[in-house]
């Protein structure tokens, strides 16, 4: 299977690097290849460093952090030959880059784009969005986002945060948004595919400060019904992930990754006789966004 690709974008100072620092230190078992513009602000616990040379730092947890000094395309071409060594690629887009374009470049090298996450600084993003020099750039970044992370929420008053969130809804409607501070985002939310431990008997659960809903069925889903379900999810849903059986192709298991508003559905492996014949799906959202009865009804109606 091809390595999934996530792009982390956002203007200079929004906190992209702190998000990456957390991912590298709390990788949730994923071997992540993180491509950064430079090591300047990357801050890896010395105990985690296995080896380092000019352009690459290898971590004891299986992750690697690598600079883009030789150019993004050169690094991507090299990673093509090392697909077995990693589970996920994360690219830090430069402060003025359109992260979706970076994602398209990654996809052109054979790494399917599963999410464009844009980090914004709660204190400064609105002023940046009208700045003479970088206003257009910041607006294009917001529009390119599948998922927005409003960082530094602790640095603004609650009313200001609410007003910012309302502005984001007006500016980029239908883009799921979560808030955080210190660049902290749970790796399970941002990157990790579905794990067995994430589905539980009780359909309603929690994922840190998020609510989650899990669903399991022995009946294969139709692709069109699944798409309709995902499209209908409210914007408070930031993430969905699953391992699915599709009526459209019974020969393969499918891996579902939905990050913000982007859905990727990729063949995971061929169905074997030992596979439990079922579909597992978890939906994660901000508190209040999960309506388990309605979701069950929607998906139930699909079958």
């Amino acid at each position: 299977m091809s390595l999934p690709l996530t792009v982390i974008g956002g203007y200079l100072g929004a906190g992209k690097t702190t998000v990456l620092n957390h991912l590298l230190g709390n990788n949730d078992g994923l071997r992540i290849a993180v491509l950064v513009n430079d090591f300047g602000d990357i801050n890896i616990d010395a105990e985690l460093i296995e080896s380092a040379d000019g352009e690459t730092i290898a971590l004891t947890n299986g992750c690697t952090c690598c600079t883009l000094a030789d150019g993004l395309s050169t690094v991507l071409a090299e990673l093509r030959g090392r697909s077995e060594d990693f589970d996920h690629i994360v690219i830090e887009a430069s402060g003025v880059a359109d992260p979706l374009k970076i994602g398209h470049i990654g996809a052109a090298f054979g790494f399917p784009l599963v999410g464009v996450t844009v980090v914004v600084d709660a204190e400064t993003v609105r002023a940046q969005s009208t700045d003479t020099y970088v206003g257009d750039t910041v607006m294009w970044q917001l529009r390119s986002a599948d998922l927005l992370i409003v960082n530094k929420r602790d640095l603004v008053a609650p009313a200001e945060l609410q007003s910012l969130l309302a502005w984001l809804v007006d500016t980029v409607p239908d883009t799921p948004t979560l808030t955080t501070q210190g660049g902290w985002v749970d790796t399970a939310i941002l990157l990790a595919p579905l794990r067995a431990s994430e589905t539980h008997a009780d359909p309603v659960g929690s994922h840190g400060s998020f609510e989650s809903w899990s669903f399991r069925t022995a009946t294969p889903l139709r692709r069109s019904d699944l798409d309709a379900f995902l499209t209908a999810l409210p914007p408070g849903v930031v993430r969905a992930k699953g391992i699915l059986r599709l009526a459209d192709d019974m020969a393969n298991n499918y891996l579902l990754q939905r990050v913000g508003r982007r859905t990727s559905l990729l063949p995971l492996n061929a169905v074997s006789a030992e596979d439990p014949f079922d579909t597992r799906l978890v939906v994660i959202g901000v508190p209040g966004s999960i309506d388990s009865e309605l979701f069950a009804q929607w998906l139930g109606g699909c079958m």
């Binding site: 300047g40 395309s73 071409a77 470049i105 996809a107 052109a108 090298f109 003479t132 970088v134």
Partner: protein, 454 residues
């Protein structure tokens, strides 16, 4: 192919392809290329470096066929009525191919230095500016210089984002960012060593006007490169990063060269240098490279801060029609405003961005005097300059911009005998006749380095 002893299957890679330079005005395709190159993959790289035209052998070699989907953010032109790749590929369809294309070794690069210098000597050029040098390319140039392979003077401008990598060549223990250029590296600037000189640091603020990646204050009249409405381009580096590094480089006494095409990019350069407190009297000769879409009100800050523009007036010929469509007549007429700049007392040079445009000094001179597009439209008749100014912009002013006016730029006792013999006088020739002037012989420090075959 016979001269290079190419075997079937060997790649042929060309540079500087541009549809707008073809008489037919359309893209080349496999039907044009295949009859001439049936057995060799050929890739003609677009002058933007964002795409190329391939022949059928090349498509086969890279694995593109009628079943290849067009990737997001890319273009694969298809033969009309079929799904067969027809020649042109762009952006994400091209990038993996460029990346995986065979790369010359350091030795192979060094072996091309002679042929590369001949491009200049044939044109009568004896000082060459390498206008945006990456650290690894500088290593090749330094090695070539040390091996005595340079017979022309090469002036290199290392890219500002490459400072950290470059710094380790001079200070092995260096750790830091572009704004932390160490003194060991600073000392390497300003003097020739084996015909190679590091002159200053090159900043890049925006892209190109014809690629619509320049950065303007006002939107274009046409959509952006991806069809965006109200497109005015973007800076390619955060302004904070540019300004911080500019201040540091300037404080270290190094000369700043800043690529800025759009007026917003030029504003950004003005803001950055003004913050350093620099004044014209300091004689720092900050070069704003291209300065193409400057506004009239930006000339005064140039004077105040001691900026010197290096214009690219040949754009009025090569892309004049595009600029007119994208910018409208008022802005297009003020592209590379050489007459206004001279009138303000600014010293300005006029360059070709070889290999984006050809190495043809007389074409550069001609363009600044006629400012006429390929379709014959005059862009800004008021900005035309005379023979004398047009020649100065290629000689005395260009030498002054790199602090070499004492040794180069004019024929005077005590200066280097860097000379060219032309078959007609460019100071008295009518503009159209300039294009017919031939270089008879070129001398570098008195030694003949090119002689036209009789």
């Amino acid at each position: 192919m016979r001269k290079l002893a190419l075997k079937p299957g060997d790649w042929i890679i060309g540079y500087g392809y541009d549809r707008s330079n073809l008489v037919e005005g359309r893209e080349l395709n496999i039907d044009d290329l295949d009859p001439a190159f049936p057995d060799n993959p050929i890739m003609l790289i677009h002058s933007s470096n964002h795409g190329a035209v391939l022949n059928t052998a090349a498509f086969k070699a890279v694995g593109y066929n009628e079943n290849t989907p067009t990737p997001a953010g890319g273009i694969i032109a298809r033969k009309p009525g079929t799904n067969i790749p027809y020649g042109l590929i762009m952006e994400t369809a091209f990038l993996p191919i460029l990346t995986n294309a065979p790369k010359p070794s350091e030795r192979e690069l060094l072996d091309t230095l002679d042929e590369a210098q001949k491009i200049y000597t044939r044109a009568g050029v004896t000082t060459v500016q390498e206008g945006a040098t990456a650290a690894k390319d500088l290593r090749v140039l330094r090695k070539g210089a040390d091996e005595g392979l340079l017979y022309l003077d090469v002036v290199s401008l290392p890219l500002f984002l490459e400072i950290p990598e470059l710094a380790t060549d001079f200070a092995p223990d260096f750790v830091g960012g572009p704004a932390d250029i160490p003194d060991e590296a600073v000392k390497a600037f300003g003097a020739y060593r084996n015909r190679l000189k590091l002159q200053g640091i090159k900043f890049i603020v925006d892209g190109s006007p014809q690629g619509k990646t320049a950065f303007w204050t006002q939107p274009l009249l046409t959509p952006g490169p991806d069809g965006q409405p109200d497109w005015r381009g973007q800076p390619v580096i955060p302004p904070e990063t540019i300004h911080k590094t500019m201040a540091a480089v300037h404080a270290k006494g190094l000369q700043v060269f800043c690529h800025a095409n759009g007026d917003a990019a030029i504003d950004l350069a003005i803001d950055g240098m003004r913050a350093t407190g620099v004044k014209a009297a300091d004689d720092r000769r900050t070069v704003i490279v291209h300065s193409q879409c400057m506004r009239p009100d930006q000339l005064d800050p140039y004077v105040e801060l001691g900026f010197t523009p290096s214009f690219f007036a040949a754009h009025t010929f090569y892309w004049g029609d595009e600029h007119l469509a994208n910018l409208g007549p008022q802005r297009a007429d003020f592209i590379s405003p050489m007459a206004s700049a001279f009138a303000k007392g600014l010293r300005c040079s006029n360059h070709t961005d070889f290999s984006v445009t050809p190495m043809e000094p007389m074409r550069i001179m001609w363009a600044s005097m006629v400012r006429t597009s390929k379709k014959g439209v005059v862009l800004g008749a008021d900005e035309r300059i005379d023979n004398w100014q047009a020649l100065k912009a290629l000689t005395t002013e260009a030498a002054w911009q790199i602090f070499e006016e004492k040794t180069k730029g004019s024929l005077e006792v005590g200066k280097l005998a860097d000379m060219v013999i032309l078959d007609a006088n460019p100071l008295t020739a009518a503009p159209e006749a300039l294009l017919d002037i031939a270089v008879l012989e070129t001398f570098k420090e008195g030694k003949s380095v090119y002689r036209k075959e009789p």
